[in-house]
Amino acid sequence: MARVDRRELAAVFAGGFLGAIARAEVAEALPVHRGQWPWATFLVNVAGALLLGYFTTRLTERLPPSAYRRPFLGTGICGGLTTFSTLQLELLHLLDDGDVLLAGSYAVASVVAGFAAVALATNLVRQS
């Protein structure tokens, strides 16, 4: 394995710590019921994609290089806040229940909204 920068790992850990707690709090506030749109996952994912598009574009294209901002804000906070695995488990639950239309809508809406959020944040930073 390549040499690991422990301070970089600490920044990722600290961001992941905060992001995961934020996501758990949103999930507790908006519990998911079988057969319904999983709002908590949808909202944290789209918000996290927006933030990552903003942070990454700003840090790589607008600000002088900084060693720990991107690992903390991008890899840590946005990565900890958003989830791929829960989205997939929710899709499987909807398919289990025969809600093919809801599963399809949820998958398409998540991908379209997440992609659009990154595009929007990227363009906002570049135009500013």
Binding site: M1, A2, V4, E8, L9, V12, F13, A14, G15, G16, F17, L18, G19, A20, I21, R23, A24, E25, A27, E28, N45, G48, A49, L51, L52, G53, T56, P71, G74, T75, G76, C78, G79, G80, L81, T82, T83, F84, S85, T86, L87, Q88, L89, L91, L92, L95, A107, S110, V111, G114, F115, A117, V118, A119, T122
Partner: protein
């Protein structure tokens, strides 16, 4: 959530994020010059498999919060998956971007299903 559960989610979420960072870096270094984001795909599919195992094992309550939401949620990422797809599209690699978006969803559901069979 009790304070202990919140702290547990945070610590395991932090460890999950570190694991993602290390695996993504290892895969990316093993496949230099590849435009396709195999590192994030490896993280997300392995995380979906593990969450499927937890689901199959009927992990509930605080244990699910800490291990499922904290560790696996901190490990997998939606935001990087979207960012990398967007950047591929910006580089006029729309085919790869579409493959990354659609392929991840299809393989992800299969990974979670497979994990549940194992759990």
């Amino acid at each position: 959530m009790s304070v202990a559960v919140v702290l547990g989610v945070g610590v395991l979420g932090g460890l999950g994020a570190v694991a993602r960072f290390l695996l993504d870096g290892t895969v990316s270094r093993a496949l230099p010059g590849r435009a396709f984001p195999f590192g994030t795909l490896a993280v997300n599919l392995s995380g979906a498999l593990v969450l499927g195992v937890f689901s199959g094992a009927a992990l509930r309550g605080d244990a699910y919060e800490i291990w499922g939401v904290g560790l696996v949620g901190g490990y997998t990422t939606f935001s990087t998956w979207m960012l990398e797809s967007h950047r591929l599209s910006e580089e006029r690699r729309d085919g790869l971007a579409a493959l990354n978006l659609v392929g991840s969803v299809v393989l992800g559901v299969l990974a979670v299903w497979l994990g549940r069979q194992l759990g």
